[in-house]
Symmetry: C2
Subunit: 140 residues, 2 copies
DNA sequence: TACATAATGTTGTATATACAACCAATTTAC
DNA sequence: GTAAATTGGTTGTATATACAACATTATGTA
């Protein structure tokens, strides 16, 4: 009975739920950030880099569960926008990533906007939902 | 102090966590489905369509929090693979979507693989995490 | 030391995602 | 009953995502 399988998957699949949540939250933050030409995924990378004085792309990709090729292309954009600077590292293969002054200023500007988006997101997902996102993600 | 903002965002942002979770889970399911030429997002659509005898793209997109243009392009692929059939509806604008026999057979084949992926996902996110995904997503 | 192996980053290809702009058709308003 | 607004779907453009293959550079081993 394929119909049984269909309903089982539809109702129980974690990926189905997570994808919907991901689309909804990304929309919410992106919409708030739009006037600043920034997307939430880009802010994600920006703060990921800014957390350290200097990060190598390979390490950042590992920390974010992201493929190195994805990061490579995301960084192209952040470089082009002038928010991130890629400098050669000691190791002739690797690089060092830095957030520029312009990037830091953007983070400062966006923070209150981000806080409002956070509130909307919390309202959307509920108290329990928000806590849960954390507990689930922390296990990675 | 931009550094304070950086850490605040890094530690508290729901979108940051959710994006990591999304990447991790998508990888997990996609890897399991790879031998079948199917991705978890495609299974998502397939069961979404199969749930009803006939759905219109606009309604499906709404139900999944998905833009109509995204769905339009996803459906192109499912049509090309022969898993979905798009037929004209009564309304001269809209369409009716149907899962083909080939698509139903694929769902049947993939179900045990999906169940194993579900178990791995549950292990990854923990008891609380899985419950949370549901409570958060159900509020949309 | 030379050769195999691993690590780093980029590029080709495919899919997923959304916004804006558009065309066609339908519904609403006046 | 026609004009305006809405709805449904596609297309142009940009970003996000990953796998496979590749070139370059370390690292390890024989």
């Amino acid at each position: 009975m394929p119909a049984d399988h269909v309903h089982e998957i539809m109702q129980k699949c974690y990926a189905v739920r997570l994808r919907r949540l991901h689309r909804a939250l990304t929309s919410l933050y992106d919409e708030a950030f739009r006037p600043y030409g920034l997307r939430v995924g880009q802010l994600n990378l920006l703060v990921g880099i800014a957390c350290h004085d200097s990060v190598r792309p390979a390490d950042l990709a590992r920390a974010l569960n992201m493929d190195k090729s994805t990061l490579s292309r995301d960084l192209e954009i952040l470089n082009a926008k002038g928010w991130v600077l890629s400098l050669p590292g000691e190791d002739a293969r690797s690089q060092h990533l830095h957030v520029t002054d312009s990037g830091l200023k953007l983070i400062e500007t966006i923070t209150p906007v981000w806080r409002m988006a956070q509130e909307k997101a919390a309202e959307l997902m509920g108290e329990e939902g928000t806590r849960a996102i954390f507990t689930a993600a922390d296990r990675l």
